[in-house]
């Protein structure tokens, strides 16, 4: 199995950064997931082979890290923080608003495959709370109205 040329180039370079092959595993899993959408059995097996690991060893690592998923997700993963600073500034209400707006629960995906919703822990936006991430993009100082605009902008982006 091959990944994109960009991935392969970076992967080859990363291997030179560490004294052990295994050390590239965690960032590589995330880069692979970015490309494929989720960590399929095929991806897991491919990376395990490349790094002289068993599939089980790779799965053991995957299950530890919260950003990694072995299940397909929506095109846009809407991650709403409800930890203490965001909670004090309406993070939970924001999450509830998203659940209603998108018609899904935590970790659910909309039927059209566009959005997944995830309640997350602190993302490091505490002084700009309440905050969320959509994939890797930060969205801060949110209100339900602003959140609606954010979701709309991704829907628009998707249809272009």
């Amino acid at each position: 199995m091959n990944f994109s040329p960009k991935f392969e180039k970076r992967f080859a370079e990363m291997l030179t950064h560490y004294p052990t092959k295994r050390s590239v595993l965690v960032p590589t899993l995330l880069y692979a997931q970015d490309e494929v959408g989720f960590l399929s059995d095929e991806v897991i097996h491919e990376l395990a082979e490349r790094l002289d690991l068993t599939d089980l060893e790779v799965n053991n690592v995957i299950s530890y890290y919260s950003m990694l998923t072995t299940k397909p997700r929506g095109k846009f993963n809407v991650q709403v923080c409800t930890n203490i600073a965001c909670m004090l500034r309406g993070g939970e209400e924001l999450l509830d608003h998203c659940k209603t707006k998108l018609g899904i629960k935590n970790k659910g995906t909309t039927p059209d495959g566009m959005f997944t919703l995830e309640e997350v822990e602190c993302i490091g936006a505490c002084s700009w709370a309440p905050a969320a991430q959509v994939n890797y993009d930060f969205h801060e100082n949110l209100t339900p109205e602003k959140m609606d605009k954010v979701l709309e902008s991704y829907k628009q982006k998707s249809s272009q």
């Binding site: 052990t20 053991n60 530890y64 004090l88 490091g124 002084s127 993009d137």
Partner: protein, 437 residues
């Protein structure tokens, strides 16, 4: 947008270059960039270490260990290579300062890593950036590439005849990985389970070699110390608590933001003068002074200097710089619940007191906040927390236990007000959906 703010009381050192385009290496050079490391190239290791020791710089990640002293633990001779590891896994709830350093002044971290390397005899550094900070990882990647292109990294740096390599490394979502030994496990491609200490990383670290692990803000301060001098830095704060630090004001405060203030700055002044006090006509109820792992302070306890030693004396900790402010609409029981949900979720699962203890606390608090609490629960939670302390491989257990003890000790009445099926006095009860399964 992670907007920048300012206040006249700030002393901008680590944040000096924020908003000045210093991600551009030429701009960084214009703003005194890479001068410190070139100075250090001409200094003896012991002299570098002593300078940092005497500056009073203490770990800005939260533990507050004297940085120069930590560097001095690296053995002079080593059969295995030595490493510098920048901890950019910022994940302590309430904390958003390393984010700004990576966004606005990544080269200062690179320079700090290099200086640490020259001090301890290491020629290899890693900058670990949490997985969610992808845009910042890309900024760091570019900064490293630019430094290599100029000959500041790689072979024969600055024509000195010495080599230095720095590599970026992205995480994939895990609070515990910010703990220094779990950070090493993660970087080695494994689950972030902490290691038992001793041996400490400075002696046995990455791949068995001596490793200095420092928070990004700590490393970013180092070049400034080299240029300004230990004495200057030390004098900015109280004895043994030198310098300034980035404080993240968050929660129910009028002017949230990241402010750089001298160590020892008064917390009450910080909240009311720098932060603009409590908005919406509300009153201050409590403050979590240094990230969720630090014991809460009541509104009567905020007249304290924000430095490591004063905060310890006050029964809390300076911690990560995350100052989370609660007004009188906040329910302490709900706040405690959310905090325990976090620790239970993030517990790596290795040690029984943490794995079981955080889960037990979370479940008890869920039931409690829904009106299903019994009086015995309050003392049981306190007793449970006491027995988690100091019985784990890493401080995550303590990070859940100590705040719980403070919530109960200082807000016992609020817990009692939730008894006998009474609804939460502050808002509708949290539905016990297993949201973070």
């Amino acid at each position: 947008m992670a907007d920048l703010v300012s206040h006249p009381d700030e002393i901008k050192i680590v944040s000096k270059r924020f908003g000045q385009g210093a991600t551009n290496i030429d701009r960084y050079l214009e703003l005194d960039g890479y001068k410190a490391v070139q100075k250090v190239l001409g200094m003896q290791p012991d002299v570098i270490i002593n300078e940092v020791k005497n500056s009073g710089l203490r770990g800005r990640g939260g533990a507050g260990f004297n940085t120069g002293l930590k560097w001095s633990f690296v053995p002079k001779q080593s059969a295995k290579p030595k490493y510098i590891l920048c901890n950019g896994d910022e994940s302590e709830p309430g904390t958003c300062k390393d984010r700004l350093i990576f966004e606005h002044d990544p080269h200062s971290v690179i320079e700090g890593v290099m200086i640490a390397g020259l001090a301890v005899g290491s020629a290899t550094g890693y900058i670990y950036v949490r997985g969610e900070y992808r845009y910042l990882l890309e900024i760091v990647q570019k900064a490293i590439a630019d430094a290599y292109a100029r000959g500041f990294l790689g072979k024969n740096i600055f024509g000195s005849g010495r080599d230095f390599d720095i590599y970026w490394h992205g995480g994939a979502g895990a609070y515990e990985v910010g703990e220094e030994s779990a950070l090493m496990e993660s970087l080695e491609g494994k689950r972030g389970i902490p290691r038992i200490r001793p041996p400490f990383p400075a002696v046995v670290g990455l791949w068995g070699g001596p490793t200095v692990i420092n928070n990004a803000e700590t490393l970013a301060a180092v070049p400034h110390i080299i240029l300004g001098g230990a004495e200057w830095f030390a004098k900015l704060g109280p004895e043994k608590n030198g310098g300034t630090r980035l404080f993240c004001l968050a929660g129910n405060v009028a002017r949230p933001g990241v402010y750089e203030l001298p160590m020892g700055y008064n917390l009450k002044k910080m909240i009311y003068e720098v932060g603009g006090g409590i908005p919406n006509g509300r009153k201050l109820k409590a403050v979590v002074p240094g990230g969720s792992s630090t014991p809460i302070l009541t509104a009567d306890e905020i007249d304290v200097p924000m430095d490591f030693d004063s905060m310890m004396k006050a029964g809390s900790m300076l911690g990560s710089g995350g100052v989370v402010i609660l007004d009188d609409t906040a329910c302490i029981v709900k706040f405690a619940l959310r905090t325990m949900k976090f620790y239970q979720h993030e517990s790596c699962g290795w040690c029984i007191p943490c794995r079981e203890g955080t889960d037990w606390l979370k479940k008890t608090l869920i039931r409690f906040h829904n009106g299903g609490g019994i009086k015995k629960d309050i003392d049981n939670m306190y007793y449970l927390s006491e027995n988690m302390l100091g019985r784990t491989f890493c401080p995550l257990g303590d990070a859940a236990a100590m705040p719980t003890m403070a919530f109960i000790k200082k807000f016992r009445q609020e817990f009692e007000d939730h008894l006998d099926g009474r609804p939460c006095p502050f808002e509708k009860a949290v539905v016990a959906e297993p949201a973070m399964a």
